[in-house]
Each structure stands twice: as structure tokens, then as C-alpha cells.
């Protein structure tokens, strides 16, 4: 119990230290930078939670049995959405600072003037609130219902979840596209890409999967997931592996079309990210988000090796943060900003996220004990 307590103290300390830095950066680092950081961590928390919720919904949608024993993990990670909602509400204050579509000058720009209503602060906020509401609905039905089933042992939940899952997929697509278009693409409202929602989805799924994998390994170390073995890990590894390819496929498809067409209003997005120090970040992103995890997980043995899987999951989480940084931070200028404000935000939010997930991991059963398919899931072999 003592190392656990030790880690807890460390986490609280890091979060508190980060909080001080966050407060200091609001007064000294400039509002634009403060809010860029805030939006980054809001989007990160939100995509992690939503990605985990997607994994839960996916299980119900396709009737997967192998993932029943570990379903409680993405369910707990998905509760991160609850923490992301207040962060997102505060992030609404970033709109007039960071988002050109909400500024009065937008009226002079004919592109922005045409979208004035869509980009305006009230409608932007309403859309975000709708997204939050839809997420809460998904959480209530899929996660809340599953937690309740621990006590009721009522298989009716499985039927309800299976019927709700297709609807949730539509909700999910809507919410993640809305988040991508509003909060990320909204930073550069004259640049648009239809595929950005899918790109953010790929990153969110990978992020949620990495968080799930790490939590599974964490609970396995504590002997709390008995019966979960190599084949379950193999499936998580296979998903991670497959979606690194999916992410890079989408990312490259978006880049290549814009590179080929060479329209000034489109390539400017990549021009910024491929010149100067941003070029280094871009190359690092491609290496860490695709090349490295791809080759790390390519063999069959690697996908079921807990040590390897843990490292790749850490890497994927870092790459997901870097991805969001790469999407959001060029709004601040042609050189990447990284110093104590970014570190403070990372400390504060990472500490907060870890505390939240740790807290969630302590509550209730570690497996959905009321699910009639649990036994089948535990017997899963490839």
C-alpha cells in the first residue's frame, strides 16, 4: 500500500505544482498562449474519453465477447468525459481570443462573413453544449447501465446497449466531427478539410485504446484482472497496430491531396507546419505516431508482450498529445512554443487525468460481473 500512497502524493504534488504554473502563465505568458494550452488539454481529455467510449460502444455494436472482461476499463476511462466537460466550459472563454471567426474583424473577410453565424460565439457554444449533452447520454446508457448491471445482473442491459450502440455510432461521428471542425479547424477558419473529423477520430481511438491498454496492464500487475491473458492483450495490440496505419493513411491522404492541388488557401496549413522548427515537429509526429509503433508492433509476439505493449501505449499517448499540439499550436505563430507554461499545463492536466483515472479504477468491480457473456469472454482464445 505504501508505494501506492507514494505515487498518489507524487501525483497530487505534480498537479498542484502544475496548477501554480498554469495560474502564473495566465498572467505572464499572454492570453493567446494560455488559451491555446487550455484548448489543447480540453481536446485531449475529450478525445481520450470519447475514444474510450467508442471502444465500449464498438463492443456492443459488433457483439464482441473477448472484450467483455476488460470492458470496465474503457468504461472507466470514458468517465474522463465528465472531467472534460468543465474544462470545455472554461475553454469557451478562449473563443474571442483564439478563434478568428468570432472576432469583429471577421465581418470584413468575405469567407468568414459568410460563416459568421456558424462561427459566432453563441452558436459555437451551443454546438459544444449539444456535444457534451450527447456524450453524457452515451455515458449514461453505456457506462451507467453497465455499472448498474453489476448489481441487477439483468441481461436486459446487453439488449439495450446493443440497440443503442448503432445510434451512438452516429452520435459519436457527429460529436467528434463537431469537435474537430469547431475546436481545431476553427482556429484556421479559412482552411477546411472534410477528412479532419476522421483524422481526429483515428487519433482519439488510438488515444483511448492506449489509455485502456495501460490501465489493463496496470490492473493486471495488481492481479485484479484474473483470466485476462495474452490473447486479450494481443487484440488490444492488434487494434493499436491497425489504427496507427489508419491514422497515417488519413493524415497522409489529407496532406497529399492538398499538396497536389496546391491551392494557396489550403497549402498554407502545411506550409506553416513544414517550415522552420515546425518541420521537426511534423517529422517527429510521423515517426512517433506511425513509424515507431508500426515496427514495434509488427510481429505477432510483440502484440502479446506486456512490456512491449506498455511502452508502445505510453508512446501512443505521447504521440496523441503531440498530434493535438501539432494541430493547435501553429495558431500562435511560425515557431513552436514550448517552455514552462506548456510544461505546467502538462503537469497539471496529466496529473489530473491520472488522478481521475486512478480514482475511477478504485471504484466498484474491475470486471462487468453482471454481464452474462463475461464467462465467454474469459474463455476467449485466438
Amino acid at each position: 500500500m505504501s508505494p501506492n500512497k507514494h505515487a498518489s502524493t507524487l501525483l497530487w504534488g505534480a498537479t498542484a505544482l502544475g496548477a501554480l504554473g498554469v495560474l502564473a502563465s495566465y498572467t505572464t505568458a499572454g492570453h493567446e498562449r494560455f488559451w491555446a494550452n487550455w484548448v489543447l488539454w480540453f481536446v485531449l481529455m475529450f478525445t481520450l474519453g470519447l475514444g474510450a467510449l467508442f471502444i465500449v460502444a464498438l463492443e456492443h455494436l459488433v457483439g464482441a465477447r473477448w472484450s467483455v472482461p476488460i470492458r470496465r476499463i474503457p468504461e472507466r476511462v470514458a468517465t474522463l468525459l465528465l472531467a472534460a466537460i468543465p474544462v470545455g466550459l472554461i475553454a469557451l472563454f478562449a473563443l474571442p481570443v483564439l478563434y478568428p471567426g468570432t472576432r469583429p474583424e471577421a465581418a470584413q473577410n468575405h469567407i468568414l462573413a459568410g460563416k459568421a453565424f456558424w462561427l459566432s460565439v453563441p452558436f459555437f457554444s451551443v454546438r459544444t453544449l449539444i456535444a457534451f449533452g450527447l456524450c453524457l447520454l452515451g455515458l449514461a446508457v453505456l457506462v451507467g447501465g453497465s455499472l448498474k448491471q453489476d448489481f441487477t445482473k439483468n441481461p436486459a442491459f446487453n439488449v439495450r446497449a446493443r440497440k443503442f450502440a448503432p445510434a451512438f455510432m452516429a452520435i459519436f461521428a457527429l460529436v467528434i466531427t463537431m469537435i474537430a471542425f469547431d475546436w481545431i479547424s476553427g482556429l484556421t477558419p479559412e482552411w477546411y478539410s472534410d477528412i479532419l473529423g476522421v483524422y481526429v477520430f483515428a487519433g482519439a481511438f488510438l488515444g483511448g485504446l492506449a489509455a485502456t491498454t495501460l490501465s489493463v496492464l496496470y490492473l493486471q500487475d495488481q492481479d485484479r484482472l484474473q483470466g485476462v491473458q495474452g490473447d486479450h492483450l494481443y487484440n488490444l495490440g492488434a487494434f493499436l497496430f491497425a489504427f496507427t496505419v489508419f491514422w497515417s493513411y488519413i493524415g497522409f491522404a489529407q496532406y497529399m491531396l492538398m499538396w497536389y492541388a496546391n491551392f494557396p488557401d489550403e497549402v498554407i496549413y502545411y506550409k506553416v507546419r513544414l517550415t522552420g522548427s515546425w518541420r521537426v515537429v511534423t517529422i517527429a509526429l510521423a515517426s512517433l505516431h506511425f513509424v515507431l509503433p508500426f515496427f514495434a508492433l509488427v510481429t505477432r509476439a510483440a502484440k502479446r508482450d506486456p512490456k512491449r505493449l506498455r511502452r508502445v501505449a505510453y508512446l501512443m499517448l505521447f504521440a496523441h498529445v503531440l498530434d493535438m499540439y501539432w494541430l493547435i499550436f501553429p495558431v500562435l505563430g511560425t515557431t513552436p512554443h514550448f517552455s514552462w507554461p506548456e510544461l505546467s499545463f502538462a503537469l497539471f492536466f496529466l496529473g489530473g487525468i491520472l488522478l481521475w483515472i486512478r480514482g475511477a479504477m478504485q471504484k466498484g468491480e474491475d470486471m462487468p460481473v453482471g454481464d452474462p457473456f463475461l464467462r465467454k469472454g474469459l474463455e476467449f482464445h485466438l
Binding site: F252, Y255, M256, Y260, N262, V298, R300, H381
Partner: protein, 386 residues
């Protein structure tokens, strides 16, 4: 003893049939411990843990696929680089000849191609050792059960000294409900002349049958022509003969005394003779819009947007187009301007092929408007004010 030996030379494998997968799994270690030959299992569906029980080595297929996939990527990269950057560099769209972005999709495709072909063909030909006609198990009596609800374990001969009787004994002791001794397969060499002849003959016969069938089907049932596209059109081809006309030509001269629609001959004669022509078009907003568009497309480069003879080509080539604002041209009657449009003048070519009759007269109206705009009278100002 001699009878025994001759018997074992004929058999290549012994099958032990089991009723349940569990019985099969329990028999595997016993069969392997006997060490009589290769142990192989035949089951209607994959059984968990059977790979480990049989002690199968890790398949080398994954490594082969990886190597060939990387090779595919490199081949595609190298091939494209050589073609587009070295052998025949053409700059398209302002991109560098060696643009890696453009190579990626094809690299991806070739990687997938090499990898899938390696996986499929490598599995079939390298690992499963095809071509191999008639695996003995396929002609066993037990095969119908194996594909339904029976689980078979085989001890397969590794060399001449295979002892089928001992193998059968091993299975009997392991609880097999049935034993089957399989005869040695006919492992005739693959590419015998007989086989090649038969294969080629078969392909030839198939081609002949398919070709004849297609020929007669489309002949007897012309409506069944699978892809007609636009082969049969009720029109005459310019360069082809036709029975429609008496002289047998598809292409005909215009009938004497007729003019093709929209091709009325116009304004021949001298410019002075054309002075009497009257602009048939009314001065409406639509006519001016047509004139403005035609002027912008055909006249503006030389005569300029204002008609003052300062166009973009003037700057580029130094040619001097007429200043339509000059007194001389303002005094021109409409017909003379029209005549120039049709016939050209000095360096100006004829625009008749590009502008229809009404477009030409609309341009004349528009030129008049340009001249009026630069030399407005008092009443014009009053009109604007109103």
C-alpha cells in the same frame, strides 16, 4: 516379416479417428511420444491450443511477408524515382520531379501487392508444398467425418522405415474409435509432358468452346450483345460510305442555294459599302451584357477595357491597337465597325469565326457605349442623376 515390410512401404500415414476434440487433444502427446513419424491433426474446425499441442513451429510466413512488403515498397520507390526523376523527368504542376509525396500511394499499393502475393503464394507453394495432387487424407474413408464431426490424428511417414502397424497400435491405445491405414499417394512429378499437354489442351478446348458459343450467341441473338455502348447510331459518318445517298457517300455538299443555320454570309464588299448597314439589335440591358462579354473575351486584350487601345497585349508586344475613343472611330457608322469585326483590319484578324451574327452587333453596341462613357454629354449626367 517380408509381408509386413511390403505393407508398410505402401502406406504413407495412419489415421486415428476420435469422437471428441478432447480425446484428440489427449491422444496428441502419446502419438508424439511414440516418435514414429510426423503427427498431424485433421479437424472440422480450429481447436484452441492444438498448435501448441502439436508443437508446430512459428510460421515463417510473417517474416516472408514483412521482407517482401518492404521489398515492394523499395521497388515502387526505386522504379518511380528512376522513371520520374532520372529517365524522363517532366515537371508537372510545379512539383519537383522527385516528389516523394506522389510516390507514396503507389508504394503503398505495391507493398500490399507484394505482401499479399507472398502470403498467398508462399503459403500455398512454399509451406503447403503445392502442387500436390490428391492428398491421401482427402481420399480416405474418414474424410466425410473429418469435415463434419470427427477428429482425426495422423501419423505420417517421414521415410521408408515407417511402421504403420506400430502407429495403428499407438492410436488404438490412445483410444481411437477407428483406425485407417492410408496407401502411399501417387506422387508423380508435376510437369510431365502428359500433364502439360492435357492442361494446354484443356485450356485450348475451353477457349474454342467459349469463342464459338459467344460467336453464335451474338449472331443468333443479336439483342444479347453484352456491351453495345454506342456502336449502332442512326447517323452518317463523314468519312464512310452510306447507302442512304445516291452517290454512296456519307458526306454531302450543301444543297445548292442553302445556307447552314447560323452561317449567313455577311458584310462582303468594302468597308465603305458596309457603312449603310444598320444595327438590327435593340439597345437593351441583355444585348449590352452579351456585347460586354464578347468584348471582354475577344477585344479587351488589345483595345483595353476602356476601348482606348491600351490592352495587356499592347504592353507585352508593343503592337498598337486602334484607340476606339479617337474622333475618327467615334464618327464611324455602326456598319463600319461591324465590317472590321467580320473582316479584320491591318493587324487585327477576322473575328467572324468566333462571334455569331448577333454577338458581333452586340459588340458594336457595346463599343458605342464605351465611346459614350468616355465622352458623356450633359443629358447623360441627368439620366444618371435620375
Amino acid at each position: 516379416m517380408s509381408e509386413m515390410t511390403s505393407k508398410s512401404q505402401q502406406s504413407c500415414a495412419v489415421l486415428g479417428i476420435f469422437d471428441t476434440p478432447n480425446a484428440l487433444m489427449q491422444a496428441i502427446p502419446k502419438a508424439r511420444a511414440a516418435g514414429l513419424g510426423t503427427v498431424e491433426a485433421y479437424t472440422p474446425y480450429p481447436i484452441h491450443g492444438i498448435d501448441e499441442a502439436l508443437g508446430l513451429r512459428k510460421s515463417p510466413l510473417g517474416g516472408m511477408v514483412l521482407v517482401m512488403g518492404v521489398l515492394g515498397a523499395l521497388v515502387a520507390l526505386g522504379g518511380q524515382y528512376w522513371i520520374s526523376a532520372i529517365d524522363y523527368p517532366i515537371i508537372t504542376g510545379g512539383k519537383s520531379a522527385a516528389s516523394w509525396e506522389a510516390f507514396i500511394p503507389i508504394m503503398f499499393e505495391v507493398t500490399v501487392l507484394f505482401a499479399t502475393f507472398t502470403a498467398g503464394l508462399g503459403m500455398l507453394f512454399l509451406l503447403n508444398k503445392l502442387p500436390f495432387f490428391g492428398h491421401p487424407v482427402l481420399s480416405s474413408k474418414a474424410i466425410t467425418g473429418i469435415t463434419r464431426d470427427r477428429y482425426a490424428l495422423a501419423l505420417e511417414a517421414e521415410d521408408e522405415s515407417f511402421d504403420s502397424a506400430a502407429a495403428a497400435q499407438v492410436f488404438r491405445e490412445a483410444g481411437a474409435v477407428e483406425i485407417e491405414i492410408l496407401p502411399a499417394p501417387d506422387r508423380s512429378p508435376f510437369l510431365t509432358s502428359d500433364f502439360i499437354l492435357r492442361t494446354l489442351g484443356g485450356i485450348f478446348a475451353a477457349c474454342v468452346v467459349a469463342g464459338l458459343a459467344m460467336f453464335f450467341l451474338t449472331k443468333w441473338f443479336p439483342l444479347l450483345a453484352p456491351m453495345k455502348h454506342m456502336q449502332d447510331q442512326p447517323r452518317l459518318n463523314a468519312q464512310k460510305g452510306s447507302t442512304f445517298f445516291k452517290d454512296g457517300h456519307g458526306m454531302q455538299l450543301p444543297v445548292a442555294g442553302t445556307v447552314a443555320r447560323g452561317y449567313l454570309p455577311t458584310a462582303t464588299g468594302t468597308q465603305d459599302a458596309a457603312a449603310t448597314l444598320v444595327n438590327p439589335l435593340p439597345r437593351t440591358r441583355e444585348v449590352f451584357a452579351v456585347g460586354r462579354k464578347a468584348y471582354a473575351n475577344r477585344c479587351e486584350v488589345c483595345h483595353g477595357a476602356l476601348g482606348n487601345g491600351v490592352g495587356s497585349l499592347t504592353a507585352a508586344y508593343g503592337g498598337k491597337a486602334a484607340n476606339l475613343q479617337a474622333q475618327q472611330f467615334r464618327d464611324y457608322p455602326d456598319g463600319k465597325i461591324y465590317w472590321v469585326l467580320v473582316n479584320g483590319k491591318n493587324n487585327m484578324p477576322s473575328h467572324a469565326p468566333y462571334l455569331s451574327e448577333s454577338e458581333r452587333w452586340a459588340v458594336v453596341h457595346y463599343v458605342r457605349a464605351l465611346q459614350r462613357a468616355q465622352n458623356a454629354k450633359d443629358e447623360d449626367l441627368k439620366m444618371v442623376a435620375r
